[in-house]
């Protein structure tokens, strides 16, 4: 073979390989898209065993599982009606069990999951509440889910009441709790929740507002 032909042949081979890469890439990515529409099986060990495997790197494993959950949800977001998201609950549960102090992740999981599986969402939020008993956000969100999604104002009132006893809760929580008890005709419970906030708050306007509500409820009890 002539030496002058070698560079030309090499360039031709390079062009051929380049075409091969482009064609196969297009083919492979179309195949990947095809499989993405179906629910694939997911192998994820139980958090107890995953903690064992993580060998002290629980936080990082939790981040990776959470990232997987987010991409799993995000990549099928447009197919929400058709797609079952059957692995989402397990992914979120695992991420939260691996890093129980990640309050934001737990709240987000509860919020996302409530669109797909409301009972699963409440379960996750209850897990967050067990792991972070000082955070008012979990009982507040559980209460909201019972009230807004499941129309169960009795349970909602109970969770709002729990939230109203926790430090740092915003002023609207005891008020909602009181209103929900009132809706169910449980005026005494409503007064108890409102009085608890009335006696602990320092804000004069709030004190006045809660005092007014308590007096109204008292009047209703008297008219019974």
């Amino acid at each position: 073979m002539k030496k002058s032909l070698i560079p030309i042949l090499l360039i031709a081979a390079m062009i051929l390989c380049g075409v091969g890469v482009i064609v196969s890439r297009g083919f492979l990515s179309s195949q990947l898209k095809g499989t993405g529409e179906k629910e694939q099986d997911l192998y994820l060990p139980d958090p107890v065993y995953l903690k064992f495997i993580a060998a002290g790197h629980d936080g990082l494993v939790s981040d990776l599982v959470l990232a997987k959950a987010m991409t799993y949800y995000g990549s099928h977001y447009r197919e929400r009606g058709k797609f079952t998201f059957k692995h989402l609950k397990k992914l979120f549960f695992t991420a939260i069990e691996m890093d129980p102090l990640n309050i934001d992740a737990c709240l987000l999981a509860g919020n996302i999951l409530s669109e797909i599986d409301i009972h699963g969402a409440i379960e996750i939020l209850k897990l967050g509440m067990r792991n972070n008993p000082e955070s008012w956000k979990f009982p507040e969100m559980i209460g909201f889910k019972y009230w807004y999604k499941l129309k169960d104002s009795k349970k909602a009132a109970r969770y709002y009441e729990i939230a109203s006893h926790l430090p740092g809760h915003p002023p609207y929580i005891p008020s909602i709790s009181g209103k929900l008890y009132e809706e169910n005709g449980r005026y005494n419970e409503a007064i108890r929740v409102l009085y608890n906030f009335y006696s602990t708050t320092q804000d004069k306007r709030l004190k006045e507002s809660f005092k007014q509500s308590i007096l109204e409820l008292q009047e209703r009890i008297n008219h019974r």
């Binding site: 790197h57 990232a67 987010m70």
Partner: protein, 259 residues
Amino acid sequence: MKKLKPSRILVLSTLLTRELIRDKVFLSLSGAAVLLVFASLILNEMVVGIQVKATKDLGLSVMNFFSLFIPIFLGINLVSGNLNNKSLYVIFAKPVTRTQYLLGCFFSVLLAVACGILVITLTIFFLSFLQGQTWIAGLLAAAYLTLLEMTLILSFAIFFALITSPQLAMFLTLLTYIIGHTLQQAVLIVHSSSNFVLKYIIIICNTILPNLEFLNKKQEIIYRLPISFSYYFNATLYTLSYSVLIFIFCVFLSRRKEL
């Protein structure tokens, strides 16, 4: 103790550290570790939680893994390599005892580990700073606990390097690391098990082998949970006692070893 002569150990460990840090393995490991910490920028986009959580999680894990590889790859190679390529004859021709040589090796690798930890610490600090958070106290606490953990691992690495081949020593050191981090969880798993033999084996292992979870406070540090001063003191005491114990075994082994 007069025989130990700290000045000789210092000279030896300084020379060996320089050799270790110039090693291509150390440099490539450092480069890979820094790149991995930078990868947390991508992970941060997908993770929910406290500010720069992924950088902290990934950074501390990389710090741990990277500093683990230094005793495993460089420490064992240093001890076994010098034993196998007979360069020990040259060293022992000088007024250096076997104990001094082992101490020199130990401190040189520990210094290399400290340099590696410093590189990762600075990278994490820089990345957190770029993302709007100055994270110093927690980062330093994590770096200190990692250094303690690696002190323990290093003593095991030297021990295994003296009794077996380099490859097996690497494997056994890695196994010690894994067992050290998983034993506590294993105890929890077998707690309710009806298999008494397995239960007692795990409990005995948990008593004898080092529990590296004592030195793993990543979650507490990341979430800024309080860790008492006495905890750091006890962790230091635990590490030093265990490392000295293993090192004494190493001294006995090296004295009996025929070169």
